[in-house]
């Protein structure tokens, strides 16, 4: 015990510059774990004291149980699906033997989406919304950043739309999509488009603003270098402007992706579009004794995925950026 105390004490303050690797590891791994431990303790303690109409507020163990349950349900559903297809194939094979002209048909499986299916749907939606937003925002930002005229023309609009909540866009998007997107055999479902467009509309702005800022604040000396070299406009943009704006653009993209993920969950909940948001809403409506635990699982999953997305962006940013010092 004394050994532990004497080990912890010097770590109370800042680590000395020549601290051992072990001590660094301790700081990097053990301290966050300790924080997590304290959080779990407080959670268990508080959970036991909150009674809702759906029973006691779930404590960590109940949430873990439901996480395992949700995974098992997913496995079961997959097995059911595999069985469904296997039976169809058997039947088709049998019919083909009797009647060689028979054209085998496979009917798709239509079981309810599992928790993992909802995660995949949400991820696909957020990534396509974010991708569309990026494809729109970066060129737009470059144009605004390069031209004072365009900047003055568009800046008020950007400032106006930037703070608009996704929930305000959603009804408009839904109506427009159902009016415009009419086809008998839609390759992508309308609900997917609704969520995606809402995400795009909301996460466009940070990237536009940052790109414009990065492009317009290129070091004037570098602009002079480009002028002395008589670089063409295209070369000027691709060799001077974009590289020097990349760090700022990526900061914008990171903010955009964070917003996209938050917006998506809200949009899915409100519009009952497939995805994690719908999962939460359905559980809330079901109101079984497990619902709260299952919602907690979703909350943690949403957090973890958001964190993961941010880490991926950060890695990308480090990879393409020449500025080595990045905030974490």
């Amino acid at each position: 015990m004394a050994a532990i105390v004497s080990f912890i004490r010097p770590l109370g303050g800042l680590l000395p510059p020549r601290s051992s690797r072990f001590a660094r590891l301790f700081q990097a791994v053990a301290l966050p774990l300790a924080g997590l431990g304290v959080f779990l303790l407080l959670w268990s303690f508080a959970a036991g004291r909150i009674d809702t109409s759906l029973g006691q507020f779930p404590d960590p163990s109940m949430v873990w149980e439901q996480a395992v349950n949700l995974y098992d349900e997913h496995r079961a559903s997959r097995e059911k699906e595999a069985g469904f297809y296997a039976r169809q194939e058997q039947r088709n094979a049998a019919r083909l033997k009797v009647d060689p002209d028979y054209e085998p048909r496979i009917r798709p499986y239509t079981g309810p989406p599992t928790f993992l299916d909802q995660i995949v749907t949400s991820l696909l939606t957020v990534l396509s919304g974010f991708l569309v937003a990026t494809l729109l925002a970066v060129p737009w930002g470059i144009a605004i950043g390069l031209s004072k005229t365009l900047h003055q023309a568009f800046n008020p609009l950007i400032q106006l739309f930037k703070p608009v909540s996704p929930l305000a866009w959603l009804p408009l998007v839904t109506m427009v999509v159902s009016a415009v997107y009419v086809s008998d055999d839609p390759t992508v479902p309308k609900s997917f488009l609704n969520s995606m467009i809402t995400v795009t509309l909301c996460c466009l702005w940070p990237t536009v603003i940052n790109t414009a800022m990065g492009v317009s604040s290129v070091n004037p000396d570098l602009v002079n270098v480009s002028r002395v070299l008589r670089l063409s406009t295209l070369d000027h943009v691709t060799k001077i402007v974009l590289p020097s704006a990349v760090p700022v653009i990526f900061t914008g993209l990171r903010i955009s992706l964070g917003i996209a993920w938050m917006v998506l969950i809200a949009a899915e909940m409100l519009a009952q579009n497939p995805g994690l948001g719908k999962f939460v809403w359905d559980e809330f409506q079901n109101g079984s004794s497990n619902s709260l635990s299952r919602i907690m699982v979703a909350v943690i999953a949403i957090g973890l995925i958001g964190l993961g997305l941010d880490r991926i962006m950060l890695t990308l940013q480090r990879f393409v950026s020449w500025e080595k010092e990045q905030e974490r």
């Binding site: 000396d221 002079n224 270098v225 002028r227 002395v228 008589r230 670089l231 060799k239 020097s244 990349v246």
Partner: protein
Amino acid sequence: MNDAVLELSRVSVEFSTERGPLKVLEDVDLSIRRGEFVSLIGHSGCGKSTVLNCIAGLVSATKGGVILEGREVTEPGPERSVVFQNHSLLPWLSVYDNVALAVNQVFRRTKSKQERAEWIEHNLELVQMTHASHLRPREISGGMAQRVGIARALAMQPKILLMDEPFGALDALTRAHLQDSLMEIHSNLNNTVIMVTHDVDEAVLLSDRIVMMSNGPAANIGQVLDVELPEERDRISLASDDNYNHCRHEVLQFLYEKQRKIETLGASASDQKPEDESLQEVSNY
């Protein structure tokens, strides 16, 4: 004046500012011969950079004009390459690629790929930077970065090399070292150089002529001094050279007696710094 490469004829420059038009230069006349090394010296804010930028084409004259080999200068171009004060290398490119950007742009039609690569290497050798060609600007010292800036400017094979306080941000030792390199390069290549400086010793050591500017606004050329020293100059033996000390004296007299700068209350710290530095050097002697 018939072998003049460059001529400034009655150049006036006026900037429009929030507080109305600001006349920085008025009727600047100057002519530069081929192979000449000319220094521009004057108090901070008098318009030295503006003269240089006018020649570079980065700033256009409100009245009068700059004539290079009989043709008026209207825009920037690589035949008037510039070495900027804070090196201005592209931070995301290696030393080699920084020079390559210039070489590939300027000689994209006239040199083969192989020739261009050799030309890049050659210019890096000239400033003794081949050993660091793979490093990024942030990974090398300020002096080294300034060398690369010079290599990039030389690699454009300019008719005139323009330098705006190229060594202003460097410590005294590094500065002396780079001055020696520059002297050597100039005596080998014999290019025409115009250099802005606020360092009297540097001006006398390097130049064939020193152009002293009067104080702004509406600054002008106050006095031109021919430096009559041998081509090969050595900073240690020069210290006891009468001619050298005479030149120093002339410049100092111009700056601190004829064009004594009246410090206004609003003068910022950065405005005063160059003066203080030069004054320190005066007291050394």
